[in-house]
Amino acid sequence: MSVLDNKVVSGVVEVGRGLATVAKHLFRPPVTLEYPEVMPDLSDRFHGRLSLLTKSGGEDLCIGCQACARVCPCGDLIQIEMHRDEQKVPVIDRFTIDLGRCIFCGNCTEVCPVDCIKMQDDFELAEYSREALVLDKYALSLSGEESDEYRVRHGLEKHVE
């Protein structure tokens, strides 16, 4: 009988201790974020939407070297078509990224020799169709000012033409 008494007493005490701990939360500030109203504070290194930086004047920075396409773990997710004009300057005809298949690993941003393809802290990427997730060069490119701002924020070299 005394064993049972002990068990009951200790049970009541321990459950009370647990409840007291839980009740402490009545006086603590909430830790959750009300997401659409309050946006999370993201780090500079956040793996978000891919984008192409441009030169300060808005011209293409990409040189079409295919490095990003070669290191992508998802196969043909990044597709680049380019040619060279008379002065042997690369011209990008087509640059598409299928964000629907992207796993946001960041390999492409690491190997880019001119720091052109970079990740933004934009994570709200939902679309109504899969086709809308295939972004072309114009959808991916940032303007010259945005690119300069990005480069300043991340301490990259400026590409002024």
Binding site: K7, S10, G11, E14, V15, R17, G18, A20, T21, V22, V31, L42, S43, D44, R45, F46, H47, A67, R70, V71, C72, P73, I103, F104, C105, G106, N107, E110, V111, M119
Partner: protein, 405 residues
């Protein structure tokens, strides 16, 4: 008190002769909230008593080993995060250090400490998630919110460091992708300092709760022989009283330079497995604290200041984040083979790589701890009551992506 088959009175007298008293086969899963993924358990029941249990795996198979044969090593690396997504730093460490062993790449001391800090933080997040889901399996829902509150803080640290919360892709052959952000170590220290209080809070809610004690003490006793015979490793093995921890027995990274204990249990029941994991979190905190104090170069801000002032000693090998800068696009490790086993939160995690001189690996083999740990479920469950199944399955901490790979 343990309730096993032998404690239950014979009930045959109450049954009519024409009632079918044959065994009943119950399918649990594949889609079941308590199977932590997609696992099917074909359970043969005699009333409430489990006579046989047969796990069916393969629902999460993503051919991670075959994928390596069509991708260069660097291309393959982001997909390793998905081998075991609750503790990806361990997968990356096993993979990267195997390639480093094959190519004989030198790893600077600072990198080793960064890896050690991230791995131990990752062990804590993994154990916290286990803690939350284990109690959820037992019917307690509030501990999960407590565990996720603290896990969130550590995931935020990972996000600051690597840019991702779970799929880190941070280690590189012979180094890490980038140095820690300035002030990151102080943030880690802050989280680590307030963590013991949080652990005490969890223990106040759970550890001596009478319902929790009734459902775990004496349930699912795994003897040391049974654990060894089934290849169980990690905290589940240590709960059975065997002090086997690769961080102590075969120190890798810089684990030989820090001081920590290996917690072991006595009986090997669910309660011991719970206690061992809790103590492991405290040991991990101890390791992180020592690593923050000992890391060569200290915080990045300090190091950058020294470099800006022209201090030559700030540029020596041990303070770099790359041993030797390699071209990741065309990187070809030499022909050879090697393997690494690390102590992941679930046990031994092994990676075996054969390279043939091309950018791709000829063969990669993963040895996941969960696969072996799952195999002990059938002998462990034999003759126990059906309601104990989820307590036992939760306590051995199996994660299905690692079983199937």
């Amino acid at each position: 008190m343990a309730t096993t088959a032998t404690n239950i009175p014979q009930q045959g007298v109450f049954l009519e002769k024409d009632i079918d008293t044959n065994d009943m086969v119950v399918n649990i899963g594949p889609q079941h909230p308590s199977t932590h993924g997609v696992l099917r358990l074909i359970t043969t029941l005699d009333g409430e008593i489990v006579k046989n249990i047969e796990p069916v795996i393969g629902y999460l198979h993503r051919s991670k080993e075959k994928m390596a044969e069509s991708r260069s090593l660097y291309q393959y690396q982001p997909t390793i995060d998905r081998v075991e997504y609750l503790s990806s730093f361990f997968d990356h460490y096993a993979f990267v250090s195997t390639v480093e062993a094959i190519a004989e790449l030198e790893v600077p001391k600072r990198v080793q400490y960064i890896r050690m800090i991230t791995m131990e933080l990752n062990r804590i997040t993994s154990h916290l998630l286990w803690f939350g889901t284990f109690l959820l399996d037992l019917g307690a829902s509030s501990p999960m919110f407590y565990a996720f509150r603290e896990r969130e803080k550590i995931l935020k640290l990972f996000e600051d460091l690597t840019g991702a919360r779970m799929m880190y892709n941070y280690y590189r052959f012979g180094g890490v992708i980038a140095d820690m952000p300035e002030g990151w170590l102080d943030k880690v220290r802050k989280v680590v300092d307030e963590f013991p209080d949080r652990l005490d809070e969890y223990e106040a809610i759970v550890t001596k709760n009478p319902i929790f004690l009734d459902r775990t003490i004496g349930i699912g006793i795994m003897s040391a022989e049974m654990a060894l015979a089934n290849g169980v490793t990690g905290p589940s093995l240590r709960a059975s009283g065997i002090k086997l921890d690769l961080r102590k027995t075969n120190p890798y990274c810089s684990y030989d330079e820090v001081d920590f204990d290996v917690p072991v249990g006595n009986t090997g029941d669910c309660y011991d497995r719970y206690r061992v994991r809790f103590q492991e979190m405290r040991e991990s905190l101890k390791i992180i604290r020592q690593a923050i104090d000992k890391i060569p170069g200290g915080d990045t801000a300090e190091l950058n200041k020294r470099r800006a002032a022209g201090d030559e000693t700030a540029n020596e090998m041990d303070l770099q984040i790359y041993g030797k800068k390699i071209n990741l696009i065309t990187y070809k490790p030499p022909k050879g083979e090697g393997s690494t086993i690390v102590e992941s939160p679930r046990g031994f995690l092994g990676c075996y790589i054969i390279t043939d001189g091309s950018p791709k690996a000829y063969r990669i083999k993963w040895r996941g701890a969960s696969f072996s740990n799952l195999s002990v479920l059938a002998p462990l469950m034999k003759g126990l009551l059906f309601p104990d199944l989820m307590a036992i399955f939760g306590s051995i901490d199996v994660i299905l992506p690692e079983v199937d790979r």
